[in-house]
Symmetry: C2
Subunit: 273 residues, 2 copies
């Protein structure tokens, strides 16, 4: 299966566009996990076991694993091994570099850890992301428009009468000859998301920014999906995984994940029926 | 000392603008190193010991260490511990992300490994690089213009009559209120380097692309330096470290590093005397 087939398959099977962001900070896991050899992994394991029938994807921001040192590398491996094979795994590192450097970046993410998808920064152009899209079953999500204040610094600059982010989207679409490039668009920018979905009707869009960053969930579903009400991947991290500081954290996360999935599906029915 | 003082100090002390790129691929180190516990570190150690009086900086592209797995993290620590304190160390990862993700990225590079400098991608704007410039003795080099073919995809787009890379330079200069932001400009683009140096007369410029990528050394010195013939950091990686596949690799690297340093100084004398 190519990446789009994999994504549609799991979105249909679990009836879910929800992606849970496993941005697990070791100091934030419940104290009762400290007796485990690797509390960061134990936290992830319980969240995965409690939610794997409710999601289409899990996203790991690599920075949260790198920053704990050498064990972090192994924790990524362990965590990925726990995720059922058909669920999409996204290695979020905003990578991209020149020639052999990009090759080495991609080696870690696509071949060693073997994430089903990665995130890449567009600034250095096509050859900087090429090693991330060699395999048809893997996808590189190009950062198009972000939810942070700094998005204004460059992403909205006007290039030939259009904002730069639109140029990035059009260019990524041209690069997408193997159907395995996606886009990252922050949930705090619904009008622009609508614009981007029109420019790229058939590309998957990863939408972070719901929850802690207060993005708009209804607009993310309405404007982020393709014509069939699919291919939007709506990421929620802190808003789900840190719902309780007690031993019931995984159960609480399940309740929240179910609420989000159902809310997303209510919006899908409203806008795509 | 702030970063600029540190840089000028070592450039004067070692009379060198040369930076050696320790982009060490474990499979490319001489076979005789295989008997060491960590051949990648052993290779770095010998290169450092053979060249530390000839350089102003060492640059480690993080991808080359990540890609070997969990030991890579430790190899970075070991390598940094071997480099004399006054020499600048650059953690080249093209990082930058949103809020807590950028905090975690910077934690690894600036506080855990404690590189004196990092490289960051501009696309996500100021807050995405803010955690990398908290300390005045550390510098973030913003990727402005790269040496690869993909530079043409976005970096040369026209924004208000100027190329995007010039806008990135002007914006980075505005952000540089603490004097600890630099720029990355590929050595294959001498005309643009001249333009960028005019836009940012007092910022350090990291110039990769000499050697394997066939950048122009004389132009890099002539246009990359500030008015005193300093603040250009000229990176050469494969062109120095892989000069021999035998046991004499460190001696050969020393000869090449000396040649490059002297050649650079010849050009400095020609253009800055």
């Amino acid at each position: 299966m190519n990446f789009l087939q994999r994504l549609r398959h799991i979105q249909r099977k679990n009836n879910s566009l929800l992606c849970i962001g496993l941005d697990t900070v070791p100091t934030k896991v419940p104290e009762s996990l400290y007796r485990w050899e690797n509390p960061q992994y134990e936290f992830n394991r319980r969240i995965i076991d409690a939610t794997k029938d409710l999601v289409c994807a899990y996203k790991l921001n690599i920075a949260f694993y790198e920053s704990v040192g050498e064990h972090g590398w192994y924790t990524v491996h362990q965590t990925l091994a726990r995720i059922p094979e058909e669920i999409i795994t996204i290695g979020d590192g905003k990578r991209g570099d020149i020639s052999s450097s990009a090759e080495h970046q991609a080696h870690s993410l696509c071949y060693d850890w073997e994430f089903s998808a990665t995130t890449v920064s567009p600034y250095m152009g096509k050859d900087s992301i090429e090693p991330f899209i060699r395999r048809k079953d893997q996808c590189a999500f190009v950062v198009a428009l972000t939810s942070n204040p700094g998005a204004k610094d460059f992403q909205y600059l006007t290039v030939k009468g259009k904002p730069l982010y639109a140029r990035v989207v059009e260019t990524a679409r041209k690069w997408n000859t193997r159907g395995n490039i996606g886009l990252v668009v922050g949930a705090t920018r619904p009008k622009e998301l609508q614009h981007i979905r029109k420019l790229a009707p058939a590309m998957p869009i990863l939408i972070p920014g719901i929850g802690a960053q207060k993005g708009n969930l209804e607009a993310s579903v309405r404007y982020g999906c393709d014509a069939r009400g699919e291919l939007a991947i709506i990421n929620i991290g802190r808003g789900i995984i840190y719902s309780s500081t007690g031993d019931d954290f995984a159960e609480k996360a399940r309740v929240l994940a179910m609420n989000y999935r159902d809310q997303i599906n209510t919006y899908r029915e409203k806008h795509y029926r």
